[in-house]
């Protein structure tokens, strides 16, 4: 494939440069580059779900119904006392066990359960592939960072000037309409800085995907950097892991930089026409 490069480029790179290029574009490296998709999918889907969970959480916190309010408070408090890693590992495992429990109830005879040592029988065992793990990772990220987002949205909903809402009421909108059409719509401007922080947190948390059995950029970096002594298995090299981790380090800083630019742009757009204090 590399022979298709223009000759001037081949000359400029020289034999060493070409060898490096060939190494960096072999199947193993291409698989590494392609695995970025898991990181991006988890980040985008996780963020979408986090906003949804955030809205639900903030809605619960503002509810007039006390138990719902408590539920909202418990939800937004839990992430402050317990590490996110614990939740990220817990939710997928709990979900898998839940499914297998239900399936065991449906399909396993008591004898089969006893034979399997009290756990799910063979028919009830659920084989998880990367796709299922990725979906569960999105939900875990959504639930954990949804709690952060709920706090942000809760604060933003309360920051919407009362006068705006009273004016809407005076125009004859009912309570529900005032909430959805005015309070929620105006809230975004106030929530944006906070939500951009939540996004940056979530982005960094996507580095943990390898803990959920997903062969993501971190797992591939580990495989590529591991020393190889078998010519049959590719280039023979000592332990190069630090080089690959350095690349990931820079990659995440770049993602952060791009995200900040993007949110700055959004903020500038969103606050057009808003009255400012200074």
């Amino acid at each position: 494939m590399l022979e298709m490069l223009p000759t001037w480029l081949i000359d400029w790179l020289g034999p060493d440069g070409m060898a490096n290029l060939a190494y960096l574009t072999n199947g193993k490296h291409l698989a590494w580059y392609a695995s970025v998709r898991y990181t991006l999918i988890a980040a985008v889907c996780g963020a979408g779900l986090a906003v949804i969970f955030g809205l639900l959480g903030a809605g619960a916190k503002l509810s007039k119904f006390a138990p719902l309010r408590w539920l909202g408070d418990i939800y937004t408090t839990m992430v402050r006392g317990v590490p996110d890693v614990l939740f990220l590992l817990f939710f997928p495992l709990a979900f898998e066990q839940g499914i297998e429990y239900i399936m065991a109830k449906m399909y396993c005879s008591p004898d089969a359960v006893a034979a399997a040592g009290g756990v799910a029988c063979k028919e009830a065992q659920w084989f998880l592939t990367t796709t299922e793990y990725l979906v569960m990772a999105c939900f875990s990220l959504g639930i954990v960072y949804g709690a952060f987002a709920a706090n942000v949205i809760y604060g933003a909903l309360k920051a919407v000037p009362k006068g705006q809402l009273e004016a809407a009421q005076a125009f004859g909108f009912n309570e529900r309409e005032v909430f959805w059409r005015f309070q929620v719509r105006q809230m975004w401007v106030y929530a944006l800085p906070g939500l951009s922080n939540v996004w940056l947190l979530l982005l960094k948390a996507t580095s943990l995907l390898s803990l959920l059995q997903i062969t993501d950029i971190v797992a591939w970096a580990d495989r590529l950097g591991a020393p190889n002594y078998l010519p049959m298995a590719g280039l023979v090299h000592p332990d190069w892991r630090w080089k690959y981790y350095l690349v990931l380090f820079i990659f995440y800083i770049l993602l952060t930089f791009i995200s900040e630019r993007f949110f700055g742009f959004l903020q500038a757009r969103a606050s057009r026409g808003m009255a400012r204090a200074n």
């Binding site: 408090t77 992430v79 402050r80 006392g81 317990v82 590490p83 996110d84 890693v85 614990l86 590992l89 817990f90 495992l93 709990a94 066990q97 756990v119 709690a147 952060f148 706090n151 922080n197 940056l200 947190l201 960094k204 948390a205 996507t206 580095s207 943990l208 803990l211 971190v218 580990d222 950097g225 332990d239 892991r241 630090w242 981790y245 350095l246 990931l248 380090f249 995440y252 800083i253 952060t256 930089f257």
Partner: protein, 249 residues
Amino acid sequence: MDTLLNSPFIADLVILFKPALYNIYFLVAAVPLGFVFAVVLALAKNSQSKLIALPARTYIYAFRGSPLFIQFFMFYSISLALNPSVWKPLGLDWLMLSPLFIGPFVLMLNTAAYSAEIFSGALQSVPKGEIEAARATGMSKKQEFRTAIWPNMLRLAWPAYSNEVVFLFHSTTLVYFTMPVINQQQDLMNKAGELFEKDYNLFLHFSAAALYFLVISIVIFYICNLIYKRLTRHLNVDVKLKIKPNYTR
């Protein structure tokens, strides 16, 4: 009483006691140096000289812009690569490759960046009047810093800094996800994971570990609150810290 002691949850709490000490050790080892480094970084970031401000800014941006998980992997593998040429000849290999050293070291580098951002924000909001008052009384630069800038900065930064310490505590879980476990040195998550793999009782083991995290987080907050009360005692108002999520890693 007997049945209570025999309950699996209590048994888990007993098993997890020693692992919890590792998490506490990582935190206690990382915070003091991290605090000092953060103050230096914050002052450097707010410096007039670009030559001083730029490296500090870059450092803070890099460490806040990348996951701690990657930072652990990176520093451990770099230290490993340096072992034959540097640590071994110096006789430092037992130290430089121990998770008990690299763990707190990376946590320190990381918390310094997050805390420096908090301190530098606080530095910028130190009331101008107090600095001017200090200057008017003819104080030297050093005195001005000690009497006007430092106490104000600390007081303004403390609520956010307390949150940072709590989240740093939570981040100690990542040490043994990224580094080898030597002998029986395990932290809470590592041990809880090991218990889970034996009997698949997810709720039991994870909630026992979660309880430890929760209780220790509350204790950290209590201590921070006591310090905050001391820092603000001259203000003559009853202030209280609020746990609120801010930047984590």
